[in-house]
Amino acid sequence: MVTRLSDRFAEELAALRRVATLVARAAPPEEVFAAVAEEAGRLLGAHHSWMTRYDPDGAAKLVATWSSTGAAVPAGTRLRPGGRNVYTLVFETGRPVRIDGSTDATGLVVDPACEVAYGAAVGVPVSVDGRLWGVMVVASPQGEPLPVDSEAWLAGFTELVATAIASSRARVELRWFAEEQAALRRVATLVARAAPPEEVFAAVAEEAGRLLGAHHSWMTRYDPDGAAKLVATWSSTGAAVPAGTRLRPGGRNVYTLVFETGRPARIDGSTGTSGPDCEVASELGVRAAVGVPVSAAGRLWGAVVVSSTQGEPLPEGTEARLAGFTELAATAIANAEAQAELAASRARLMATADATRRRIERDLHDGAQQHLVSLALQLRAVQRAAPSGAGELVRQLDGLATALIEVLEELREIAHGLHPAKLAERGLRNALKALARRSAVPVRLDVRVEGRLAEPVETTAYYVVAEALTNAAKHAHATVAEVRVAVGEGVLHVRVRDDGSGGADVTRGSGLTGLKDRAEALGGRLALHSPPGEGTTVQVQLPVEQARPTAVGAADPGAAHCPQAVPR
């Protein structure tokens, strides 16, 4: 008897060690469950053994089964709650339970799932993190009672099971956390490098959709009446509703709930959805959805929605996970709005400066220049009226008139530098031709622009060429320059290339800095390529379509609220 006991003890230790090894090398929980069912069954000489996991209502799902005869009930079978049986008693008491066939009515030990009668059955609870998770059961046929210490032996296994579940859970959570962080980081990177909002929105829809295992996800922007426009959509099946689709306001659906409450909302089951545009949802087969608001500048801007085509509700915590994404989207929106406001304000400043230059040029032209000419005329009249014999006086008057004409020439140059009248009167092509003629460096000019462009675009292009040609002559000592100007796909491309000494730097306070600002204020770009000894290339791209420059003091009141860069 002593030998038998010590043998069993050794066997149990070996069995426990095998299971412990599985747990230690992080085998999947299912594998651990299966091993435990088999090892415990064999060790205790049982005919059947199984492990179940409880639902909140006491129903139990078989997660592993073993049978000495090979005729095991399949894993995955659900056992309904209630009755007098081991798994129900363990669920109700939270303690080990033994049912003995000799003392209890046979029928009461019948397993409701498999209708097999047992002589005896022992169940030991599996608790994870202090909560009842499931039960480990061994059973033997009538006339073969289970050993008295079965509960104690089983407890050793259930502890290992609990450890396996807890560590697996921790690993899953860790992986989730890592995935979530990676997804958020990808979106945050886009936001940080000021990617266009559309791109950020698309990334938010896709990353949130993937991370949360949704079937569809989208981002909407609200109209004041609660209508929502899809600004980005994603689908795991590829059957996404196209971005740009408008969803009418009202009804019982996630986007309307978010609009009405300004808070996260969820809908479970298709019966809960209604409203004018629920067909969009039903077309996609959406049965559960969660929406989280996106706020920008303290106002409700839109929502991010993830949805599932499964009947089951989306997991708890979906709202909190989405919030990370909506915050990034809000940052992108705020950035874009700030940038649009900045660009608009720069464009206004530039338009004001240009208008001032034009006004001064006109004042010089129509005022000072004319007066000087008439003064010169008067001088000539005085000169003619001078009495004969006043030769010295006449000579002095002549000198004065000549000096006046020289001042006039200087003034003409100044006026031209302020704002070339020719640009306004004759357009970019002719103004550039004149510029090329006046250039100290010979210019090969190729201008492919039909008709007139918006004034700030023409002016900026003109100044860029003027500055580049001046630099080519003054600093780079170039022998030839090439100017190409063309419109393509709504963008004016300007390129000035010279064969000079290179080494120009847009950041070193050259005139190009101001021109870069100018180009950017118009939503364009200026690039400088100037390696030492290899000439200089200045390239500028300007969108041809420009919002009408708002006059100073008459700024569009809607402009600040509806920045261009954010899609409506």
Binding site: D366, V373, S374, L377, A381, H416, A424, A434, P442
Partner: protein
């Protein structure tokens, strides 16, 4: 010397309309022309006023500022176009604060008796009056500053390369609107010599010879403006 020209002009007694929005300049110009013997039949400060009267007046010469109210852009060009259409024999001088080759060629396309000068030129009285005389007699005149700008332009492949310095001089005077006789007088050369130079220049530049002087000016200006 100035006085002699003034006397000459008095004899011509041409009827002139002056359109200039700067009142001082307008009156100064009118008094200068009056002294020189021109008959000032109209003085106007806007495009609208000018056009309201000029056709009825049918003057020999209209002097018009290019920038005038209401828009201060190119009212003078519009006026010149209309007047040329309605009164083909009236000489027109357009004065401008700055000179543009496109405006010059546009004016010259309207035919002879056309002038296009910087405003400053009015203060060189003798030169100015003789220019008016030439325009009235049928010449087309282009401001020397514009011609100089066109000739001075640095070009990658300079089509003027084959020209001799003398030919360049002749070309400039052709562009300003001088006839062969006028160029000969200016350069103290025989008219026959100038004729040879002109033929050589036109051949070298590939410009067709033109019977009328203003067509020659237009052709030369167009060539210089496009190259």
């Amino acid at each position: 010397m100035g006085r002699s020209i003034i006397v000459n002009m008095a004899e011509s007694c041409a009827r002139v309309v002056v359109a200039e929005d700067d009142v001082l300049l307008r009156e100064g110009l009118a008094s200068l022309l009056g002294e020189a013997g021109f008959d000032i039949v109209g003085r106007y400060g806007t495009h609208t006023e000018l056009m309201a009267h000029v056709l009825q007046l049918n003057p020999d010469l209209v002097i018009v500022d290019i920038r005038m109210p209401p828009t201060h852009t190119t009212e003078g060009l519009d006026a010149a176009r209309t007047i040329r259409q309605e009164l083909p024999d009236t000489a027109i001088l357009v004065l401008s604060g700055h000179v543009q080759v496109e405006q010059a060629t546009e004016l010259l396309r309207g035919g002879q008796r056309m002038g296009y000068l910087l405003k400053d030129r009015v203060s060189d009285v003798d030169d100015f009056l003789s220019t008016l005389d030439r325009i009235i007699k049928g010449a087309s005149v282009v401001d020397p500053a514009l011609v100089q700008e066109l000739l001075d332009a640095r070009r990658v492949e300079d089509p003027l390369q084959p020209l001799s310095p003398r030919e360049r001089e002749v070309l400039a005077l052709m562009a300003e609107g001088l006839s062969n006789a006028g160029i000969a007088r200016r350069l103290w050369l025989a008219e026959g010599t100038i004729e040879k130079h002109v033929r050589s220049i036109l051949t070298k530049l590939g410009i067709a010879e033109a019977a009328e002087n203003h067509r020659r000016v237009l052709a030369v200006l167009t060539f210089l403006g496009n190259n």
